[in-house]
Amino acid sequence: MKLKLAPPRRHDDENLIPLINIVFLLLVFFMLAGTFVQAGRFEVIAPRSLSTAAVEERQLRVLLAADGRLAVGEREMSAPQLRHLISTRLSEQPDLQVQLQADRQLRAARLIEILQIFRAAGVAKLMLLTEPDDA
C-alpha cells in the first residue's frame, strides 16, 4: 500500500504578514492622529457651540463639574484654593491663559461665581472650552 505523504507544512508566519501590515498602519494612525487624554478628577461634558476658534496649547485647565465642584487635573479644590493657585501661576507667567472646561448642565449662577474668582485672581485671558457642533 502506498501512503500519501502529507504536503509539507508551510511556514505559518508567512500568512501573518498582511495582518501585521494592517496592525502597524492602525498603530501609526492612532499614534499620529490622537492626542493623549488628560486625566481629570471627574467627567465634564463640555457644551456644544458653533464657535470655530481653536484652543491654544494647553496652559491651565480648570474643570468645573455640573454640581459646581472645581478641579485642576486630578486635584479637587475649593474656590479660595483655586484663586490662590491662579494668582501664583500668574505671577510666574503673566500671559497665562486659563481654559475653563465646564459641564453643559452647569447653572449660570455658579459659572458667574467662578468667573468672579478668576477676575479677583487677575486672569486676563479666559477661554470657555466647547465641542464643535456637528449637527
Binding site: 496592525v23 492626542t35 493623549f36 487624554v37 453643559r104 477676575r119 465641542e131
Partner: protein
C-alpha cells in the same frame, strides 16, 4: 560531474508571533489613551471694568430666563426678533457692548447657544453678568 548544492532554506531568526503581540499591545494602548475631541473655545470677557471705552452708548442687556425666554433691555422677544434688533443696533455701532444676563438656573448649554447667536449677528464686545432673580 559538478554537484550543485541547493541553498539551505532561509531560516527566520525570530518568530513573528512575539512581534505581533507587542504591536497589538501598543495598538491597544494608543487606542485607549488617545482622544479625538477637537476643542473649540469661546473667549469670555473677565476684565474688571465692564465697559472698555470703545463704545459710549449704553450696553444692550440680553436676559435669559430659567424658562428659556429671551429679553432685550427688559422686553420679551423671540430669538428671531432678538437677532433682528441686535443686527440693526450693531450695524450702527459694531462695538456696542452686549451684556448677557442669565438667571440663576439657566444651564450652560443654553448660555453658549445664545452666545453663539450673539457672535453670529456680529457682537464682539460681550460680557456676562448675573441676571435679576
Amino acid at each position: 560531474m559538478m554537484r550543485l548544492q541547493r541553498p539551505l532554506p532561509r531560516r527566520r531568526l525570530v518568530s513573528l508571533t512575539p512581534l505581533i503581540d507587542v504591536v497589538f499591545i501598543l495598538l491597544l494602548f494608543f487606542m485607549l489613551a488617545s482622544s479625538f475631541v477637537e476643542w473649540r473655545a469661546i473667549g469670555l470677557n473677565v476684565a474688571t471694568g465692564r465697559s472698555d471705552g470703545r463704545s459710549e452708548q449704553a450696553p444692550l442687556v440680553i436676559g435669559v430666563g430659567d424658562d428659556g425666554t429671551l429679553r432685550l433691555n427688559g422686553a420679551a422677544l423671540t430669538l428671531g426678533e432678538l437677532e433682528l434688533r441686535l443686527r440693526r443696533s450693531l450695524a450702527r455701532d459694531a462695538t456696542r457692548a452686549l451684556v448677557l444676563r442669565p438667571q440663576a438656573d439657566v444651564p450652560l448649554q443654553r448660555m453658549v447657544s445664545v452666545l453663539d447667536r450673539l457672535a453670529a449677528v456680529g457682537g464682539s464686545n460681550i460680557s456676562l453678568m448675573p441676571g435679576e432673580p
